[in-house]
Amino acid sequence: MPQYAIDMKDIVKRFGEVTASDHVSFMVEKGEVHALLGENGAGKSTIMSMLSGLYKADSGTISIQGKEVRIRSPKESMELGIGMVHQNFRLVQTLTALENIILGEKGSLWRGTSWMNKKKREIENIADRFGLRFPAGVPVWQLSVGEQQRVEIVKTLYRGANIIIFDEPTSVLTPGEADQLFRTMQELKQNGKTMIITTHKLKEVMAVSDRISVMRKGKMIANLESKNTNVQELARLMVGREMSNGISIKKKQRGKPILEVEDLVVRGTHGNDALKDINFTIFEHEIIGIAGVAGNGQKELAEALTGLIPWTGGRVAFNNANLKVPTVKNLIDKGIAHIPEDRMKSGLAGSLGIVDNLLLKTYRTKSRTKYGLLQKKKNKTWAEELIKKFDVRASDLHSPVRQLSGGNQQKLLFAREVDQDPKLMIAVHPTQGLDVGATEAVHHMLVNLRGSGSGILLISEDLDEVIQLSDRILVLYSGEIIGELDRAQANKEYIGQLMAGLTGKEEAVL
């Protein structure tokens, strides 16, 4: 009988009427990399949160290293040797990496220079041993996402974790960074650490794990050895039905130019030029993909083209008419739709219901208001039709949309934007944090929009997505377009090099 590092039996957890975890049993052997697979909302995070002491189970037992335990707080979880690398990093952005790692340490009240130096050496030792490099002395918000994740990993190691939980670790990483993470995980495994990785990306699961548990709708569905399974089987288990093999995009003759951008210069938040002399044109029936590592000007490009920030130089023409210092409202009225980066921050109003969120951009039109008053009944039927058309699943039209799953939120957002027959859509990370089913739905919506004659600017960090959907791909690197490829030329390695700022095909080493 194998020795279990984690043995959870019959775990039940309810949030109100929702059963997030329905008699789930979950076992992890010592020294293995165990993948917990499931769509968003399947209950992975709930199970992990119980291990890390954030939630308490309503019933069921948890044993760690063979001993039955009760985990009542994150501190107790830590004392049991469990460390968690959260999806949204649990780092205090205003503190340095060093301060974050020693945070919570009691004893040694006085923090003089010598003490801090001692800790710094100690932490650098750990970091070096596992090849996890990051600057220790600057505030965490200045670090890249990959570096922040390394800080998180070192933090768990510093606290003596034997079991490390990675919660959706690659959702924020570039392909290169993800590969590096997997190498680190192998290194950790050789050092006898037990690891759990929760994810919905099947290829990663196959690449990194020894065993796999699959959850669906709060239930544990299957427990498999990685070498005895394959991606298709996992997908079927996870979604509960056969998955289509990606999406097929018919070749379309591109039409008239919709958006022409010439020598665009946009100033960034720190006073530097975030975009330098950008040139491109989007035509009808065309998806333009923007690839690049976060922070190379994508955010500014999207914000400038949706009127959120002004540009300082260059020319932008929409439908052959020059745009002069546009306002957001002006661009909405002209027919530019926007799927923002953070749907709950700038896409939807979380505490409003579905009808109100659908109204946010059209409330001033004649069909929605009469004598300055909203037409309640009419708007309700309109909203009902829309959510039916876009397959938004919600219990009722008026409960806050923040309670919807990420996929349904995104569909709702698309419903609002697409309903206005946009000429151009700026979609930023449209599938970030979505599960397989919802991602597929979003891809279909984008392709349908292209089919109806709109142009789409797709900004995404998911390189597979960009390559799959885009007719042309532009690679942004430090505010400049460093390369342009069409669908036939698109090749992941080459784009990866461009994203890292390497231009010549020959000189690049990977």
Partner: protein, 309 residues
Amino acid sequence: MDLFILLITAAISSGTPLLFAVLGGIISEKAGVINLGTEGIMLIGAVISCIVFIQTGNLFVTLVAAVFAAAGLGFIHAFLCISLRSNQIVSGLAITLFGTGLSAYLGKAIAGTALAVSVPKIKLPWLESVPFIGRIFSNLDLFIWVSVALAVLLYLYMYKTSLGLHLKAVGDSPSTSDVMGISVAGYRYFHVIAGSMLMGLAGFYLIMVYSPNWIEGMTAGRGWIAIALIIFARWNPLYALLCAYFFGGLDALGFRIQLFDIGIPSYFLKMLPYVSTILVLMFIGWKNRHNPPAEPTSLGIPYFREQRF
């Protein structure tokens, strides 16, 4: 010259109650809880001091009573904001309204009674010979030195100790602190109550040293100025020291200029600290319009562990 020295001395003594209140506000806000009850807590501190001093005549007993009365109000605020997760602005305003009303009621019988109080002065004879500085610093009262020491100690506490690091983490990111095994509620309760105690001390100083007889509403908005000064001082206790004396100076200036009969109505001069507060806040806002805010990131947001985002 003499006038200048007088003015600085006056600035220090009128800045000291502000300093106590600002320091109290800083530690409370550093933990993530705004305390708009400052004005009310200062008034309660002052009226309790007055009553207890008339009864006992003992300065130390008076001090303890004022501080504990303030701690009581601080506890109510903490309970509302931390355990019940109610709105910090509303709770703070309620504390101020409550404190203003209660102090007026309690103070009815003693209004106008002059207190025969003598606060110990710290004599530093060796300093007297130093020109200028000597005349200012050689003869200050005990509580001024206490307030200065507090500012320095709080600075060291906040930036040089493990507890200070935890305090900053709790105010900036309570969810992270929780995961790291820091008691968010514990830190918040402690600092809100300790901060309120300092505000009570501000009231104590106001009535025992600055103007020793009870007048209804005698804080005259100093609690509100203190709240603005927290921003002015960028949550740093040492800056708070300078800011408090600067505003104390404006207060004193308004008072002294009247002696010269320069034809400005006294009401305008009395406005000086309040108008400056507005101007300074505008200036700070304008100066930092491109910078990330210096305030604790989670200021004003109640923390609930099982909240689903």
